[in-house]
């Protein structure tokens, strides 16, 4: 008799058989919602990024879309204007055959004072499977998720989290620099108010990157360096010294500076910010050769990033947008298929 290793997972329903040679159990997506990256395991992040690889390949095909999510209804519920993110989700959902309904706060009963909880309950009642939500208040996606059986994807809540942006950033980094572990990633700008910075931080930490947060002292969350969980690989550096931060960087991510920070007195002036923190060619010379320049968009060219850097050889800003569709396809696919099970 021959002894055989355990067979690979097989379906509960008859199907073409798959052999036994899978070396490790594939990670499984079991989450109802995607609210932030902070609780994602490295395996879950890998699963999203690997699935995104498959989705990127689908996008390159002559047809460029599949029908996997036929019968799935995705509702985008945006309480903040964001043409880019909303469009990215819509394209992603449609590329997999889902029905997409776009709701904007101004165009729905939200404008009439309906509460968020009532709104998501209504959306669920009309048959939404997945709700993609953008909201100006931190924690809004978590609130919505608790009060609906639909899956909630956080498309950005206040200053809290923007997990799909972080995952597409990670995907873009991995495509260019390979393994993230040990890489120095510098995020520059208004860290304190940035959901992109936070979600990137958690995801990069999970992936083992060495993260530096850099910006004016009034816009830096001083406590992040001492939070539990930051003693892991890489750690998190928080600094006002841009030159030092850029030295040896593999990835430089500039964040959008909101003009209202000047009105709030957090910045003496935009000119002051530009003088100290704009990402310029000259400053970028301290980074590693081939360092990537990223920006979650939309860019204020000439403010947080010099135009020649924004469109320079190291910039992958446009690719981030392209990758965003593949990563969002992956997330919608994983969440919708997890629901069907």
């Amino acid at each position: 008799m021959v002894s055989i290793e355990p067979a690979a997972p097989t379906a509960t329903e008859p199907e073409e058989q798959q052999g036994p040679a899978v070396t490790e159990d594939p990670a499984v997506w079991a989450r109802k919602d995607l609210l932030d990256t902070d609780t994602l395991s490295a395996e879950e992040i890998d699963l999203v990024l690997e699935t995104a690889d498959a989705m990127a390949e689908v996008r390159e095909r002559p047809v460029g879309r599949v029908a996997t999510l036929r019968g799935t209804t995705v509702v985008t519920l945006f309480y903040e204007n964001s043409t880019r993110t909303r469009a990215s989700f819509e394209i992603a959902a449609k590329a997999m055959g889902a029905d997409v309904i776009n709701l904007a706060a101004s165009g729905s009963s939200v404008g009439k004072g309906e509460s968020l909880v009532d709104t998501v309950r209504t959306i669920e009642a009309v048959g939404a499977d997945v709700v993609v939500m953008r909201h100006p208040n931190s924690g809004a996606a978590a609130l919505a998720a608790r009060h609906t059986s639909a899956s909630v994807v956080n498309g950005g809540d206040g200053s809290h989290a923007h997990p799909t942006q972080a995952l597409l950033d990670l995907y873009t980094m991995r495509r260019h620099v390979g393994e993230i572990e040990g890489r120095k990633v510098v995020i520059v700008g208004d860290i304190l108010h940035s959901r992109v910075a936070r979600s990137n931080l958690w995801a990069l930490q999970a992936a083992g990157a060495q993260v530096t947060l850099c910006g004016p002292a009034t816009l830096l969350p001083q406590s992040l360096r001492s939070l539990p969980g930051y003693e892991g690989p890489g750690g998190c550096e928080v600094t006002t010294d841009l030159e030092g931060a850029l030295t040896g960087a593999d990835v430089v991510m500039a964040l959008r500076i909101q003009r209202e920070r000047q009105d709030q007195g957090l910045l003496p002036s935009l000119r002051e910010y530009i003088r100290q923190y704009q990402i310029t060619e000259e400053r970028l010379a301290r980074a590693n050769a081939g360092a990537l320049v990223m920006h979650p968009g939309p860019m204020n060219e000439g403010v947080e990033i010099a135009p020649e850097v924004a469109h320079g050889l190291r910039s992958v800003v446009e690719e981030q947008v392209t990758n965003g569709v593949a990563v969002r396809m992956a997330i919608l696919y994983l969440m919708a298929t997890a629901r069907r099970r």
């Binding site: 909880v117 208040n137 931190s138 609130l143 200053s159 936070r198």
Partner: protein, 440 residues
């Protein structure tokens, strides 16, 4: 009225230093005898075996919501909540509509109290007209109408000069000015404590300095005027230090702390196994602070620097708290959990029982000089009002907001097991609340 004999409990009366096994006899609404083996022929008997018997608790800071905000709570529901929490006296905060800024407004309120209240309700008048911080209310009129203190509650008196005049005039009337110490230009739109948790959650925070800057200003004005100044719900370690210094210098400064701030930190906002992330039930103003602050508050109660444990009981309608964290109103419904939170802290060795009970009885009575309004209040002396609370310090129970008498179910303690439970409450000699088997 039938006499009442509370028998066989551990009597603790901080005002007299009494701590012994014994009985309390209440006749004609007043304490008539205290000691061992009292006989009360024909008296109704409350068996207090295994329980602690103390003067009824006095809450310096309760939001009873009526008139004006009956969707959040009514005098009937919120004083029933106070009663079940062991409070026999509640000082009603002036954030009602209308605000108690004139004698007629106070008289109208007291009429409602007479009809509906389940415990003694003592009004706190508003410092300024409509609590708008523009000009002072009719302070002498308020004193005459029965107000026990002055406060603009959640709206700090803005101008230094306005506060100076309030302290000067109120001082002459013998009233304390109770202030929510906050510098609005620093607290801004903050919805929680500014620190590691707010930074992680992406919520705007209120720095501790927003409280301490205001405390510093008001202590200076207290010294300038000699008026009695009461700091409501102190939350910061530095704030406790400021009060201790002021007291060392002999200034007429007092302060209170809430059970919520003694029990919880800003981590409560982030949620737990029992509570959701961005828990609006943990949104309170001033905000829950850090563990360092909490430890300083506990030490402040134990040392007596903090005069009173006051609830800041703030019921809200469920749909008001079912909002985005930034949009939910501040406040915790805690009248019914207050005792249990502090006795749980006693069981953990964080609070001392004697100091804790003093801060619920004698401490608040002295803070607002309530003896002048209700002679003997806050003590078990013979002749004192028959206000007595009986609680079992060992009994464990699980917080269930649905079972609250309060309309406000907004507690961050839902599902939590606490130790210490009110078994019976006597108000003015009448046994108003009894829990299960304590009544024989």
């Amino acid at each position: 009225m039938r006499a009442l004999l509370i028998r066989g409990g551990r009597l603790i009366d901080p005002a007299s230093g009494r701590d012994e096994q014994g009985d309390v006899l209440i006749e004609n609404g007043r304490v008539s005898a205290v000691g061992g083996n009292l006989s009360g022929d024909g008296a109704e008997v409350v068996d207090a075996a295994g329980c602690i018997v103390t003067p009824g608790f006095i809450d310096l800071h309760a939001h009873l919501r009526e008139p004006g905000f009956e969707q959040k709570g009514t005098l009937a529901t919120e004083t029933e909540a106070a009663l079940r929490g062991g409070f026999t006296t509640a000082c009603a905060m002036p954030n009602t509509d209308p605000a108690p800024d004139s004698a007629p407004a106070v008289e109208g309120f007291l009429k409602l109290v007479a009809q509906k209240a389940r415990v003694r309700v003592l009004p706190v008048g508003s410092t300024t007209v409509g609590r708008r911080g523009e000009r002072l209310a009719a302070l002498s009129e308020l004193a005459e109408a029965g107000c026990v203190a002055l406060s603009d509650d959640g709206s700090p008196v803005p101008g230094g000069n306005l506060m100076r005049n309030a302290l000067t005039l109120a001082g002459a009337l013998g009233l304390a000015v109770a202030e929510h110490c906050d510098e609005p230009s620093l607290s801004g739109k903050g919805s929680m404590h500014e620190g590691a948790v707010s930074e992680r959650l992406g919520l705007e925070g209120q720095p501790a300095a927003a409280e301490t800057v205001a405390i510093a200003r008001n202590i200076e004005l207290c010294e300038l005027t000699g008026g009695r100044f009461h700091i409501m719900h102190v939350t910061t370690a530095r704030g406790v230090e400021q009060v201790a210094h002021a007291k060392e210098r002999g200034l007429p400064v007092t302060c209170e702390v809430t059970p919520s701030h003694l029990f919880l930190t800003d981590e409560a906002v982030a949620g737990s196994d029992l509570t959701p992330a961005y828990d609006t039930s943990a949104k309170v103003n001033p905000p829950l602070r850090t563990e360092t602050d909490r430890l300083a508050l506990l030490a402040g109660v134990n040392s007596g620097v903090i005069d009173a444990i006051a609830t800041d009981h703030a019921p809200h309608a469920p749909e008001e708290k079912l909002r985005e964290f930034d949009h939910a109103p501040f406040g915790i419904s805690c009248a019914e959990t207050a005792l249990a939170t502090v006795t749980t802290l006693v069981s953990r060795g964080e609070l001392e029982l004697g100091a804790t009970l003093r801060a619920l009885t004698q401490g608040p009575a002295e803070t607002f000089a309530l003896d002048g309004h209700v002679p003997g209040i806050g003590t078990l002396a013979v002749g004192a009002p028959g206000d007595v609370t009986v609680f079992n310090p060992e009994e464990r129970w699980t917080v269930d907001p649905a079972a609250f008498a309060s309309k406000g179910k907004n507690t961050p303690l839902a599902g939590l097991e606490l130790q210490g439970r009110v078994r019976a409450v006597v108000v003015g000699g009448e046994l108003r609340h009894v829990l299960e088997a304590a009544h024989v």
